[in-house]
């Protein structure tokens, strides 16, 4: 039972990371109907920006203030990167066939991965510890302060996002755009601006996930975004793509099941489990757990 609880805690903290990344996928899919393949790579860039920022702050003692600064800096940098990607690569092809958009996204993803190998170097880097670290034992289950930080911070970010989308004017406009891009434009919403905001928000969340994973698993490398990105996408599909609570639920489920498979079966199947879940979902419930069915119209 203790082992199970331990795995559950580990799974939830990994799952929060997936959930944060999945939010970006689901939001972009909501407004553009595009699988933003480059999203996982934005998460990688977020981890690297966090790495360089924390190296800058190295002189000071590990404290929550510097950890917060690093995370905010990385989120702002990646938010800008997200806007840039949308402006330069996706906007010119937005009116083209969806396949063109998808191929562009694959191109952007490959570009960021390879450019990152050039800029950051292909070998892994080790994330310095940002915040003071401590372990807690609760009912026989070991909780590291990093795990608690990951879970608490991602929960707070998700609450903030929910508040933003449900209570602000921009959030309302985002919901309108995701309901129908053309109708929203006719109602006077600046769709270009809303799409930029969506990319910025999604990318900032991915950057936060990048910094959080750096605190938890300190090894970062330029290709780390691929697998995390794909699994987070699976999480978004599992929860129902376009649905924000769905992305969170899907992320937590994927993270937990992955940790359980590694813990109870074999670690070699680690990469296959998410795809197995994806295939089952798409066959049994293609709209995902919390998604709505879209009727196809001619």
């Amino acid at each position: 039972m203790t082992t199970f609880l331990q795995q559950l805690v580990n799974g939830l903290s990994l799952g929060s990371i997936y959930a944060l990344i999945a939010l970006g996928y689901t939001m972009v899919y909501g407004v553009l109907r595009l699988i933003n393949f480059a999203h996982g790579d934005v998460y990688m860039v977020g981890a690297y920006v966090g790495y360089f920022l924390s190296r800058r702050l190295q002189g000071s003692e590990p404290s929550f203030v510097s950890a917060l600064l690093v995370m905010l800096g990385s989120m702002i940098a990646c938010g800008l990167l997200g806007i840039l990607i949308e402006r330069l690569a996706y906007r010119p092809v937005r009116r083209e066939a969806r396949l063109t958009l998808l191929i562009t996204a694959i191109g952007v993803s490959l570009f960021i991965e390879n450019a990152a190998q050039l800029v950051f170097g292909p070998d892994p880097k080790f994330f310095p510890s940002l915040a003071p670290s401590a372990d807690f034992i609760v009912a026989g289950v070991r909780l590291t302060s990093e795990q608690i930080t990951v879970i608490v911070v991602s929960f707070l970010l998700m609450l903030l996002l929910r508040f933003f989308i449900l209570k602000t004017r921009t959030g309302k406009a985002m919901r309108a755009v995701s309901f129908s891009l053309d109708a929203a434009r006719l109602m006077g919403i600046s769709t270009d601006w809303i799409i930029s905001v969506t990319f910025a928000l999604g990318s900032a969340l991915a950057a936060a996930a990048g910094v959080l994973i750096g605190m938890q698993i300190p090894k970062i490398d330029p290709l780390m975004g691929i697998m995390y990105g794909l699994k987070a996408f699976v999480a978004a599909v599992l929860g129902g793509i376009g649905s924000i609570p769905g992305a969170v639920l899907g992320g937590l489920l994927i993270g937990t099941s992955e940790v359980m498979v590694v813990g109870y079966l074999s670690s070699t199947y680690r990469e296959a489990i998410a795809f197995g879940i994806l295939i089952l979902v798409l066959i049994l419930r293609p709209q995902g757990l919390l998604g709505r069915v879209h009727k196809e119209k001619v």
Binding site: I35, L102, T104, L110, N114, L282
Partner: protein, 338 residues
């Protein structure tokens, strides 16, 4: 009659070139081994690109798991050759060495092709009901699952890779199968079945309304395409004599996608052009290895913005030279792929 003559001509030409390149025909005249290897890998890439184009270009279904089927073909055929190759040779002792090699290779490749097509069937039936980007992700997922499973089979080396495969494939066989793939895809596309595939690409709902059994047509084209990827994988294994699951990750699938997108989705000659361009740029930029994927990805993005239909678009190379409009490309007035 004319067709047979052409086929005989192509076969004879390939045999002649094979002998010439290997240095067996004229003393002192041989292809440098490095160039020969590049040429052979280009041939394998042509097979992969043309076969993927059948599903991505002509049927309009976006699959990015081609490397998985290639892996099945590579491992299955290599396993056959290593374990049963000698027994088969013993049975056909009366044949000359060359004949026995070819026989083993052909049997191995057919086993690879059959297994890859079976996998294609089981992947295609559930996933081809999905549309566009979902299909892309599912095929990518299946490709990775196949890779992870092979990685866990100890009989084929697991994480160590599979070595000790005899070198049975050569220039002749690689280009023989490249030509065969081109021929098969060409014949399929220009048949009435091919027209249903193009109809699905142009408008799936309209095709369904016209009575096309879309899922069945899509699965058939997927299975054929997988079988050919299996052959390409088998050739790959029997040419390099060593395979590792890392060669079949989704980055390989992305490479094949780049080839067909650059050349033009829905153009056979475009795929050939894309494959040749890709391999020559890759090898030509070997000194700048770390820059070349940056270059390719930029090329892909710029191409999508400037010319989303690829270099040749839906047209074939021949239609640029002659006035005859026999291409099975887009109907007048349509742009892009649906």
């Amino acid at each position: 009659m004319k067709g047979w003559l052409t086929a005989a001509g192509v076969l004879g030409g390939l045999l002649l070139l094979n002998g010439l390149f290997a240095g067996a025909l004229l003393p002192g005249v041989a292809m440098p081994p490095y160039l020969l290897q590049v040429l052979c890998l280009a041939g394998i890439n042509i097979t992969l690109a043309v076969s993927l184009n059948l599903i991505n270009g002509f049927t309009g279904q976006f699959s990015i798991g081609h490397a998985g089927f290639m892996a099945i073909g590579a491992y299955a055929s290599a396993y056959f050759t290593v374990t049963f190759g000698d027994r088969l040779r013993a049975v056909f002792e009366f044949l000359p060495e060359f004949g026995r090699d070819s026989l083993v290779l052909l049997v191995a490749l057919s086993i690879g092709a059959v297994l890859a097509s079976i996998a294609g069937f089981f992947v295609g039936v559930p996933s081809l009901r999905l549309r566009g980007d979902y299909l892309a992700i599912v095929t990518l997922g299946f490709g990775e699952i196949i890779r992870v499973f092979i990685l866990n089979i100890d009989a084929v080396g697991g994480a160590r890779g599979y070595s000790g495969i005899p070198k049975l494939a050569n220039f002749f066989w690689i280009y023989f199968f490249a030509a065969a793939t081109i021929l098969v895809v060409y014949r399929i596309v220009h048949s009435s079945f091919g027209r249903t595939l193009v109809a699905i690409r142009e408008d799936e709902i309209a095709a369904e309304a016209m009575g096309v059994h879309t899922t069945r047509a899509k699965v058939i084209s997927f299975v054929v395409s997988s079988a050919m990827a299996g052959v390409a994988g088998g050739l790959f294994a029997h040419y390099l004599m060593y395979v590792h699951t890392n060669s079949f990750s989704f980055l390989r699938s992305f490479e094949i996608i780049i080839m067909i997108v650059i050349g033009g989705l829905g153009s056979i000659s475009g795929s050939v052009l894309g494959a040749v361009l890709f391999i020559s740029l890759t090898e030509g930029l070997r000194e700048f290895a770390q820059y070349r994927m940056v270059l390719f990805s930029l090329l892909l993005i710029v191409l999508m913005i400037v010319r989303p239909q690829g270099i040749l678009g839906h047209k074939e190379f021949v239609t640029f030279l002659t006035k005859r409009r026999r291409s099975i490309g887009a109907a007048p007035g349509t742009t892009g792929t649906g």
